[in-house]
């Protein structure tokens, strides 16, 4: 190595040290692209906070409990809304491929903030208050959710393939958008099927 090579070596080492020392300050000014994926989670758990014992065979007047949870991995605190909706088999479900929520009106809306990396979970207790059995069809008239009784008047036809009257309680995740100043469907939904045949 000649003197010129040594000079280059000194310069590179000095620049490396300068970068190491300046990096913490630079990171306060410049946002370096993070590799973490940004997303939200939505889940529904059974009464034991597992995924195996969801309420399915429903009886009128009996309370059922599930846990609904949301996880925030969006990089900052976020304002969410979970819409609780109820439908029969013929009513529309959210369309995730087109980012479209179900057009059904929500029975219940949870609004809450979550910090980045944190989660939120809430027990949801529901009960079928009034169900009418008609010939070849069934009419769910009222449902109680967290001690409030809602009129739903949702009819269902006999599902001959699965032998029952089926309904779905489902949850849509909405996220508050600061640019449009409104809640937008966040492409996340989960639901549980309920068999009202034996009610």
């Amino acid at each position: 190595m000649n003197l010129k090579d040594y000079r280059t070596l000194f310069a590179v080492a000095t620049l490396g040290l300068i970068f190491m020392v300046a990096f913490p300050t630079l990171s306060l000014i410049v946002a370096f692209p993070g590799g973490a994926e940004r997303f939200s989670e939505l889940w529904v758990l059974d009464p034991n906070r597992m995924v195996e014992g969801y309420p399915f065979n429903i009886h009128v007047g009996e309370e059922y409990r599930v846990f609904v949870g949301v996880g925030n991995h969006l990089g900052s605190s976020s304002y969410y809304m979970v819409c609780v909706k109820f439908r029969n088999q013929s009513q529309p479900f959210p369309d995730a491929s087109n980012s479209m929520p179900s057009p059904l009106a929500p029975l219940f809306e949870f609004r809450f903030f979550i910090m980045d990396g944190e989660s939120w979970e809430i027990p949801l207790v529901f009960m079928f208050v009034e169900v009418l059995g008609l010939e070849g069809s069934c009419l769910v008239r009222r449902i109680m959710i967290n001690d409030l009784v809602f009129s739903v008047d949702s009819p269902s036809r006999w599902d001959s393939e699965n032998n029952g009257f089926y309904y779905q309680l489902f949850f849509e995740l909405w996220l508050y958008d600061l640019t449009s100043h409104s809640f937008r469907f966040h492409d996340r939904f989960v639901g549980i099927w309920l068999n009202v045949t034996g009610s």
Partner: protein
């Protein structure tokens, strides 16, 4: 889950408070209840960018978010009661939500101010530290380069063959 626990504690405390101090009759009709709910929603929404600003400035917003979530529970109840046409209670819940939201908004502004001040101070000290460190590194590097160069030249000159006068 801590969020769930705190929510349950809040609901229990709220139910206890209601049993001791029942909600006053707000005497609201459908329009008034809708207006109260809209105001509560607006207050909640107006808190969000302030909280985000405080958070991005490095402030600890967990306390503010916990209180906003208390207000969110009230807003949830207000919406549900409105749907059930219980306008009186819906308006009362919405007004309580607005009250909490208003308090949070004031606290959030204060936290943002403090967080921005602290962040500016932090940045200033970090810059002073960095400039000092860079100056030391550059000076040390320059001095060591000079010393290295001097020794290198000395070594080279010592390695030069001696010139013989040629007289015998």
């Amino acid at each position: 889950m801590p969020a769930c626990k705190s929510f349950l504690i809040f609901v229990l405390l709220f139910a206890l408070a209601l049993s001791i101090f029942p909600l006053e009759d707000c005497g609201a009709d459908s329009g008034e209840a809708a207006l109260a709910i809209k105001q509560a929603e607006d207050i909640m929404i107006s808190c969000y960018p302030i909280v985000l600003k405080a958070e991005s400035a490095g402030g600890n917003v967990s306390g503010l978010l916990a209180r906003l979530n208390e207000a969110g529970v009230l807003l949830t109840q207000a919406h549900a009661l409105y749907r059930l046409e219980d306008f009186d209670r819906a308006a009362c819940f919405a007004e309580l939500c607005s009250q909490i939201g208003g308090e949070v908004r004031v606290e959030a502004h204060e936290l943002t101010r403090l967080a921005v001040k602290q962040a500016t101070e932090r940045l200033m000290w970090a810059m002073i530290r960095s400039i000092l460190s860079i100056t030391i590194i550059v000076s040390a590097s320059f001095v060591s380069w000079r010393i290295f160069k001097l020794r290198y030249c000395q070594q080279i000159s010592e390695m030069k063959p001696e010139v013989d006068s040629g007289e015998s």
